[in-house]
């Protein structure tokens, strides 16, 4: 049967581990206690939701990332797509360049942007000084207030080209007749853009925004390479907290962090389902 190998992988490495994680989340499973299962029911969940300040801080950061990123990415990508669609010369060249950051791994991107944000010679401060805003130059990643926005900008750098390409594809599928009809009715360029084109792109925009949201809620690698969650947990995300709590705490611990993972899993699923319903009104989430 054609399905067998795939089902083996799927059940052995996805479904089974998910079930084990749920199971572990109700137990204490720590190396210093011999890695033996000790049932504790909902104790971990109570502790996480009730008194774990780091979790709440990390959840806040992840949510901020998930919400702010689409708000920045979507209008920017849409603007760029509309401009390219308006027959700018070398459109193909620009599209190719803008898409490139997506092909690099997070560690590569992380290192490059560590340099960009360097206080003494980084590009960010260089540009600020060049345009006379030198007083705003600062060590972006060392300040708990600016570190998270600085990281969000990096994901914008990576993903805007990607969103732009998809919006551009959607733009090309809009039937020319709609635009011509609006033109005949006397709609000028702005009216055509805001009353015809953007409403027609809405389903694509919503899909992309939700995908962006989910992606940012899982964010791990960039933080791990650039700030490790610091300074003062200013960039800690739930994903980095789970890994730290499991492998870099006092002892190897597979129970408590599993409970965090379960909570986050439920939140991501709940929110993306809710968002889909809210933004698309009964259209199903499609990838």
């Amino acid at each position: 049967m054609f399905l067998c190998p795939a089902l083996f992988f799927y059940f052995a490495f996805i479904i089974y581990p998910v079930l084990v994680t749920f199971f572990n989340s109700f137990h204490i499973l720590r190396q210093d206690l011999g890695l033996t299962y000790q049932f504790v029911g909902l104790q971990h969940f109570k502790e996480i939701l009730g008194s774990d300040e780091v979790f709440w801080k990390a959840a806040g950061n992840s949510l901020t990332w998930g919400i702010v990123a689409p708000i920045i990415d979507m209008p920017l990508a849409l603007t760029l797509a509309l401009v390219l669609h308006a027959k700018v010369p070398f459109a193909r060249f620009f599209r190719t360049v803008w898409f490139t950051p997506l092909l690099m791994s997070y560690p590569v991107v992380g290192v490059i942007w560590l340099w960009v944000y360097n206080y003494d010679w980084g590009m960010a401060n260089l540009v600020l000084r060049a345009i006379g805003l030198g007083r705003y130059a600062q060590a972006w990643l060392a300040n708990p207030v600016t570190a998270l926005p600085a990281l969000i900008l990096v994901t914008t750098w990576m993903f805007t080209g990607f969103h732009m390409v998809i919006l551009l594809t959607a733009l090309h599928t809009i039937p020319q007749e709609y635009i011509e009809a609006a033109w005949v009715d006397g709609a000028d360029r702005w009216q055509r853009t805001f009353h015809i084109i953007i409403p027609l792109l809405r389903p694509t925009l919503v899909n992309l925004a939700i995908l962006d949201f989910i992606g940012k809620m899982k964010q791990f690698a960039l933080v791990w390479v650039m700030t490790r969650g610091g300074p003062m947990r200013g960039t800690e995300t739930v994903a980095t907290y789970v890994i730290k709590r499991a492998f870099e705490w006092r002892t190897l611990d597979l129970g408590y962090p599993s409970a965090i993972a379960v909570i986050w899993f439920v939140i991501i699923f709940g929110l993306s389902y809710g968002l889909t319903r809210f933004l698309q009104r009964r259209e199903a989430l499609e990838f």
Binding site: F2, P5, V111
Partner: protein
């Protein structure tokens, strides 16, 4: 006249964004050809003279040959496995002939798991890999990679297989094909364009993957490139010139291929986000 003005206004955001988009990488590319001493004297100087030898030094003395080989093994083996396994499953899910009672719920479940955050699996995968002695081995990493990319691969390929007309299947069968030969001789070749997009998507994901590598690989000699870069940036933070060379080694294979096949890459990378 008006057209020219509009054009100029439109070009401003385009050029500004292009500078933002390409600037950091070009800067790194320039630094990769300069020595760290030169860079500390001036961070934005041109690579004159260009030290191409740095690539050789990084390759032989800084271990990039090993990391590159590890990344290549993992990516190539995983992408071949997933293409075969994924295409077969997608075919099984797509054709009416192979329908059975729980098939659609099963497919829905696989589709939904595209959204799973890796944290929900990673800690128990850690346990499982240790139990079966696959922890800290490349085969273990490959198995995990194949499993995590399977849902999206199956989802994308199924849409393609579902479009192939029923008549073709019947014709192949009349010619005496078994299910197995029909799949490999008729269906798989027809699906090659779709397979190429998932191939690229999966390959880039495997080449760049970081989270599972961080947790499942602990020995230095089997580190993949992303993992190695993370360690090098903390160990040799001062040696900017050599790090920049390393970043080029890690990205150039993909970017050079992208230069020649950009349409295919764009198609592959966006396949997951366009309505199927």
């Amino acid at each position: 006249m008006r057209v020219t003005i509009t054009r100029t206004i439109l070009m401003l955001p385009v050029l500004a964004y292009t500078a933002f988009s390409a600037g950091p990488y070009l800067w790194t590319a320039v630094m990769s050809l300069r020595t760290t001493d030169e860079i500390y004297r001036s961070h934005y100087g041109l690579p004159i003279p260009a030290h191409w030898g740095k690539f050789y030094t990084a390759w032989t003395e800084f271990g990039y040959a090993t990391y590159f080989r590890n990344s290549a093994i993992v990516s190539v083996v995983a992408v071949c496995l997933i293409t075969v396994v994924g295409a077969m499953a997608a075919f099984g899910f797509a054709r009416r002939r192979y329908a059975f009672r729980l098939r659609e719920p099963l497919f829905l479940m696989i589709f939904l798991s595209v959204m799973f955050p890796p944290q929900i699996m990673i800690l128990s995968l850690f346990q499982i890999l240790i139990k079966y002695r696959l922890f800290n081995t490349l085969p273990g990493l490959i198995l995990v990679y194949v499993a995590t990319e399977l849902p999206i691969t199956i989802y994308l390929l199924r849409a393609f297989f579902a479009q192939i007309p029923q008549e073709l299947e019947e014709a192949a069968r009349l010619d005496g094909c078994t299910d197995w030969t029909m799949f490999w001789r008729v269906m798989f070749p027809i699906a090659l364009p779709a397979v190429a997009t998932t191939f690229i998507l999966d390959f880039i994901y495997f080449w760049n993957e970081f989270l599972y590598a961080v947790v499942f690989i602990t020995s230095q000699e089997i580190r993949t490139l992303p993992l190695a870069i993370q360690f090098l940036v903390s160990d040799q933070y001062q040696d900017i010139g050599m790090l920049a060379t390393g970043l080029m080694i890690a990205t150039l294979p993909i970017l050079v291929m992208y230069l020649f096949l950009s349409e295919w890459f764009v198609k592959g990378m966006t396949a997951g986000a366009i309505k199927g």
